[in-house]
Each structure stands twice: as C-alpha cells, then as structure tokens.
Amino acid sequence: MTESEKKIKVTRKTRPKIGVYVCHCGINIAGVVDVYALKDYALTLPDVVLAREYKFMCSDNGQNLIKEDIEAGLINRVVVAACSPRMHEPTFRLVCKEAGLNQFLFEQANIREHATWVNMNDTEGAYQIAQDHIRMAVAKARTLLPLEVQKVSVEPSCLIIGGGIAGMNSAIDLAKEGYKVYLVERTPTIGGHMAQLDKTFPTMDCSACIITPRMVDVAREKNIELLTYSEVVDVAGYVGNFEVTIMKKPHYVDQEACTGCGACVEPCPVSVGNEFELGLAPRKAIYIPFPQAVPGEYTIDMESCIQCGICARPDVCEPDAIRYDDKPEYLKVKVGTIIIATGWDPYDPTPLKQYGYGRYPNVITAFQMERLLSSYGPVLGKPVRPSDLKAPHSIAFLQCVGSRYFREGGNKYCSRVCCMYATKQARQYKEKHPESEVYIFYIDIRAFGRGYEEFYESASENYGINYIRGRIGEVWEDKDHNIVIRAEDTLIQTPIELTVDLFILSIGLEAVADADKISSLLSVQRSEDGFFMEAHPKLRPVDTLTDGIFIAGVAQGPKDIPDTVAQAKGAASSAAALMAQGEVEIEPYYAVVLDHLCSGCRTCQSLCPFGAIDFDEFKKIAVVNSALCKGCGTCVSACPSGAMVQNHFTNIQLDSIINIAVKQPTVKNGQ
C-alpha cells in the first residue's frame, strides 16, 4: 500500500479523536510519577478517545501501538507524553505519516525534562506538572490543522569556516565528491595549529611532513576555492540555500602579481612578534607566517607597517606587487551547507599566578615548547630556556593547567591531548639530551587512544621520565632564574621541593575567543564549556541543531588529530548526504496572510528581520515568501488587523493552551 492510498482526511470540521500515549521512559518517568494514573487522567480530557501507556514509546513496539490505532481509524490526532520534542518529535511525526495521518496532527508533552527529571524528589509536584503538560498538549491537539511540508532545492556547495586540519580534510572529501567548496581561513595560510606542532604522538611522525602535502592538495583541488586572510561577515538564508558574505581582508600585496620571492623581507625595517612562533621569534611587517605557508604570497601587517615605501621600490619588488591602498573585498556566495571547523585557542595561564607564567622568564607553555622543539622553529629544534638561552638540564611539566579546574579562571573539562603531548615532548627532549632530568607532575595520566598507553609506558620505562603524581602548589624563581617547585608526591605522601631549569605548563584547549560571534552569525548553540554544541552527543556528533550546518574538529570540543580528522570526514559525509538528496523538506511553520483581513498597512514588512514579506501592489496586501520566513512570529504580533497567522502556532492554538493552563492552575501546598 502506498502512502497516498491510505491518507486519512482531516479538515477543520472533522471531529477530533485524540489518542494519548504516556511513555514510562524506563524509570525516567515511571520511576517518579504514576504513569497509569496519568493515562486515566488523560481519558478525562475532552476529545480524548483512548489513552495508553508503554515502557518505551519510541521503540518499535511503542510506535506500532500508535500506528495500529491510527490505521484502525480510532484516532485522528496523537499526543505523546514523553521526553523533549527535541529528542523524538521527528520519530512520532514519521509514525503518523507512515500510518497515513498528517504529521502535524501530532503534539508532544514533555513530562520528562519538564516534570520528572527536575522534580525527582517531589513526586506529587512532578505528577501535577505532568498533568498540566498533558492537559495543555491535548488542548493544542484539538486545534491542530494538517500542514504540508515544503521542499526546497539544495545548492551543491559547502562553506567551510577554518582551514586547519579539520577544515582541510572536510574540504578535500567534499571536493572529491564533486561539490564546490569555499574554504575560508582568517590567517594568511591554511594549516592551522597542526602546522605549528613538531611531531605527533604516539607515532612520532613529523607533523609538518604530514600536513604540508595536505595543504598543497587543498590548494591544487579545482573544486576548492581557497579564501585565506578572509572572514565570514554575514550568513543569511536557510538549509540548502545559505547566502554568505565573505570579507577578503586586504593583503596590501597583489596576490596575483606576488611571486613569493621574499626579496621584500630583508629590507623591511619593522620587526614584530611572530604569531606562528608564539612570540618566540620576530617577523617583519611584510611576511608569510612560515616558509611552507599555502598560499605562499606575502601580506603586509598594516598595524605594524610604517609605510616607509622600501618594499614598494622597483629594485626590491620586481613584479611591482605592493599596494598600500588595497581595500577589503566582499564576496557573496550561495552554499547549501556549512561546516564549522574553527578550531581552538590555547589556554592563557597568566591568571594562575601561582605558576609564575608571564612573571618568570623560564616558565613557558607546552605550546611554546612545541615551537622550541621544532626543527624549523626559532631555535631549530634545540630547546633553550629564555633567561640565558642555554639548554636546560632539568625540565618539569605540569599537567592540567587550566583544565579540570573547578575554580574561577579555568576550564572544568579535560583537554584530552595534554597528557600525551607532554609525554611526547618529554621523550623528544630526552632523545636530544639523554643526560637531562625530566619530570611530569600529573593528576592522573589519560592515555586512552590507540597506542597511547604503550607510548606512556615506554616513556617512563625506556626514557627514564619521572612521573610524579601530584599538583604543584606554587613555584618560585631563585636568583639564577631557576624555578623552585613546591608540590606533594601523593603516591608517597611527601611534600617535595624541586629546582628545575625550565618549567613547562601543559595548557589546555579553549573555544576560540570569538566563538560567540560565530555562534550568533550562524545561529548555532554552544555548550557550557564554550565549544559548539552537537545536535546529539551520541548519535549526531557532527550535526548542529541548525539544519545544514555541521561541526568538525576541536570546534566541537578538545580532541587529538586522529579524532579531529575522523570528525572532519564525518561532517563532510553528512553535508554530502544532504546535498546528494538535491532537495530538503522544511517545516511549514511560516506565516500566512489572510487576504480578506489585510489592510495593506505594511507594518509587517518593515519589521520582518528576514526580508520575507513582499507587498502585492495590485491587491494591496502583504505576501509572505514562505522559503525565507523563519516563523519568528514578529509580524503576527505586530499586525493590527490580525491578518497574519503563524502556521502550527496560531492564536487559536496558543490561546487554547494558555486558557487551559490558567483555568486549571496547579495548586500545591497552597503555593
């Protein structure tokens, strides 16, 4: 039987026959409230013709209960009292649809998050709240009207924000599948933080050797339009049809003309700290971030440039590429999907004054150590300590700096990579200086990945790295700028004092500083820890709650390189799955104009934040572009004639909920 054959006709005049299904949700609901009593209560409500309870309404058997009742013609509206609609509204809508009932004749009462979870210790209160929710859902269900979903086409192109290892991998996968990719990166080069790393754990591959060929692949891929030194400034539209405005920041060097010869660098008189080297080495005002940068053309940092004109001289820049009057360019592109791969910022340990970062020269972050260890870093892979530029004999790492920290100034989460990178750096230093003493102070070592435990074991077994379980209370600098550490070795329960030449803070990973800007630009949510939030922690780890927008890499939470790449490929796959369908259904929650009531005052048109309302000059009435309308309801509340109706949230529907909620208020203990 095809769907169309068994469609149940429901109109405004059809008498509502509501079925109420109370879910136990295991013990999540049934463990707190009496679900059988709730079922009986539902039967007392108007137009409810049947009520059932079941252990898991979302299970196959639970779904079949509803399906059978619909197919038997017993009901023509469905209310499920269970979890949040965020969780299972799509599930139950599909049940209705499969049984031949319009999917918008379904309403979900959230008695788990709103009642039993929050009132676990107040069963009576939880029961009354659950009653309220069921009563309100039934009231709305009585007034529901069938709606038709709209289908819109999906543009076969993707915007990827962030050109680190995550963004690059998503970009390559999508490009190979034939989709157009706009890869936007705000620095002058792709590569991200991985390009700054020296080696990767546990295999000790050279990070640059892995990533630089990948960077070149990205630049060569014809389906990828690489937009470095650019930022996304505006995102409009909706799933399948995003309109994105990208600002290409001025390089002040003609990128077409520049040959990347580097003749301008030597004569430039301005030196500033190199961001790529984390301030450990200088760069000139005209620069490329590092020799293997992609693209390899130069950029002038106008904040530091004094416009002396030397680089523009014909004997310096033969191709005549310098453009001091360069202006930002704005580019508008249309994409079907967006992947957020904005990565992370290193935690700044300055506020943790007890560790002396920023106060004592020989306290550095492990991220800086990475550059010191790097063969193409500021000291060519021969680490020295900042105070006297001598190779330190003894070094100590402190783990969990700013991570697993429940007081002000830190992050609560584990950053997941620090145990391993500290172990890796410790091994690297031991390889270079076998006679050195290396200590790692830790809370517990988290070696969870493939080959990690073996790597850690070998570090203490074969390399003689001293792991000391205990946090460092505070550090102090002696007159030779050595760092005196005060700590407790909690395994032997003894306070220790240790003097080392170099003290390294294993800092954690944080959400990027302007994550809130990205979040509001794209209407995606962030978790409490500041990272972007996935749609479901288990089942939809690369989706966001905004259709058509995906997340990849550390933007979603701290992870190591293998996990980042895996997620990036996952995000690319999810985006491709959406684009491969060619069209997507969007919920019909748009506003509609009642032509006979509209007086043509155009109030709504001026208020609509999405430009979704046009004016029909012939009929002199407002017209809603349903594809652009986001269903915010601004026009509905503003319309002086009551001519605007918001599908699925009509005044009649909302009033019926409010009336029933207010007329029979829950009274508990006289409060």
């Binding site: 943790l352 004054k353 007890q354 007081r407 002000e408 100034g409 505070e474 102090w476 005196v484 005060r486």
Partner: protein, 320 residues
C-alpha cells in the same frame, strides 16, 4: 587630590574585637580605632559580643553551635544597623563563612533564628561581615586613604603576610576570586612609600593556624622558621600583617624559633612585626607610642616580644 569631605561616605561599623586583640595585642585595637577615626569612619561598640567562635575549635566539633554563636554576634551588629568589622582573620573566617553559608541555606537560617529567639535575638543576614582590610581597600579605597598619608617612608622593605582566612575560601571572599596572589595588602602598604618585597612562599601559613600552635608548638615554629628565613633572605626590614593570630605567631613565634632552632638558623631573628593600621597610623602622623610601637623596657612577658625600635630607627628621619 581627593576632596576628603565631599568624598566621605557614611562609614559606620560595629567593631568586633575577638580574643587575641584584647588579650595579647590591645595596641592593635588602639591603632584600628585611631586610624578609622582619622579616616572619618565611626566604630560602634558591640555590647555582649562573645567569642566569634573560633573556626578550628567550634566549627571542627559542632557546626550548628558554630552557626548560632556566629549569627548571634552578627545580629548584635544588625541591631546597630551596620556591618560588623573585625581586624582578625580568624574572626573574619568564622563570621564571613557563617554569614555566607546562612545566606545560602534557608533551613539552617530558620533553625538559627529559632534558637536565637530564646535569647531575644534575630539574625537577618542583611549586613555582610567585613575585615578591616575590606573597609580600607574596598569601602574607602586606596586613593581616599592616600589623601591622609603625611609621611612617606623611603628605603623601608616590608615583608607582607596575608594569612589564610582573609583570602580563602575564595568564593566567600570579596576579592573577585583572587586568592593565589592577592595584592590589596601590598597596595595599602605601598601607600606609605614603603616597598613590599617579593619573598619565597609569601602566601605560606604563619604556622599557627588550624590549632597547630596549640597542639604542636614545634611544628608551628618550623613553619614560622621557614617564613622568617625567606623574609630575611629577601632583605625584609619589618613584617606587616592583618591578623592578630599571625601577628602573635610571627612575633612571639620569633622568640620560639630563636630557641628551638638556634642551631640551624644562624643569627637569631629580630624582625619587627607590625599590624597594618599601626604602620598606617605612623604614616598618618600619629604618635608611635600611642600606637603601641614603643615598649617600656621594664615590662616582661608583654607584647611586642620582638622590639619595634629598628623600625622606628629606619623611619625616624622621615618623621621629623
């Protein structure tokens, strides 16, 4: 220049003395009263105030009792319509913690009031208990206090000691979560022109707290020894603190360290120990002897145990 009169607020506090100040260092009370009067703040007496009660002794054994006694003391200040102020970190620890905890625990607050009703008292929690440092640094502000400094000390190296209860637990304290490296005491000290020196283990305990002094004096003195060694290494002329119990441990404790550890410390210690308002008082032009900085040589077994004279010698020329 700050206009003293127009800037002046209604600074009225109920002065909670505690036990160590009246019993061991009455000159600390004198200096607090004099300095606050000069700054235009009014200190009200608290009739019937009892022990705070001591955080280690009472809270360690029976928290409800500790709550009730603390609430009773705070209620006396509430009856006067002002915040309570104390010069002691221990009293501050008890009163501030009890106030904070009761503000976050309405059940306990109800219970406390039920018991207080028996003695005709009522606790509301409307006035937060404060420390002398809090009044100086947060209520008045250092720019205001600066306006009263008459003598600027040159070449005076001060080892500042904070003590623990004034900064911890950080969430119950008013210092914006700063507890590992606070600077408010250093900033007030430096108003006098003195230099607050950085020394090793600056935020280490004086040794007395947690009933260690009472139970095992040698262990307490071992802590104090370590602090004193670090202060001497950094070249401290004097020690400044804001807690009478730390004051006692650093003052009388110095004598004990000189006895217990004479074999390992080399030279005995003679670093004058001065309470913050005593230093401020001198800088504000008050008579050092009224502030308790000059001691009759005939007096034995009476504080201060380490002579203050070296300090007066350093600043003498600058006072004239």
């Amino acid at each position: 220049m700050v206009n003293k009169v127009s800037e002046q607020k209604d600074w009225r506090y109920a002065f909670f003395l505690g036990c160590v100040i009246p019993n061991r260092y009455p000159m600390i009370e004198r200096s607090i009263r004099d300095v606050f009067e000069e700054l235009g703040a009014e200190l009200l007496d608290m009739p019937g105030a009892s022990c705070c009660p001591a955080p280690g002794v009472f809270r360690g054994f029976h928290i409800p009792t500790w709550f009730v006694i603390a609430a009773r003391n705070i209620a006396i200040a509430e009856d006067l319509g002002v915040s309570l102020i104390t010069g002691c970190n221990g009293c501050y620890g008890t009163l501030r913690d009890a106030w904070w905890d009761l503000e976050h625990n309405s059940e306990e607050k109800k219970h406390v009031n039920k018991l207080l009703a028996k003695v005709g008292k009522k606790y509301t929690g409307n006035f937060e208990p404060k420390h002398v440092m809090q009044a100086l640094y947060l209520d008045m502000g250092k720019e205001y206090v600066r306006g009263f400094i008459k003598h600027k000390f040159k070449d005076l190296k001060v080892a500042v000691h904070y003590g623990c209860h004034i900064v911890k637990p950080s969430d119950k304290r008013p210092w914006d979560g700063e507890y590992e490296n606070p600077t408010f005491l250093d900033e007030i000290v430096e108003l006098t022109g003195a230099t607050s020196i950085d020394y090793k283990e600056k935020f280490m305990c004086c040794g007395a707290g947690g009933a260690v002094r009472t139970a095992v004096k040698e262990v307490a003195a071992d802590f104090t020894r370590e602090k004193l060694v670090n202060m001497r290494e950094a070249g401290a002329d004097i020690i400044i603190n804001c807690c009478p119990f730390c004051h006692l441990q650093l003052d009388l404790g110095q004598v004990e360290v000189n006895n217990f550890y004479k074999d390992i410390i080399g030279e005995p210690f003679h670093i004058p120990v001065i309470y913050i308002t005593q230093l401020l008082g001198v800088a504000m032009g008050m008579d050092p002897s009224r502030l308790g900085l000059v001691k009759n040589h005939n007096l034995k077994g009476v504080s201060p145990f380490i002579p203050i004279q070296p300090f007066l010698d350093i600043v003498k020329e600058q006072l004239i």
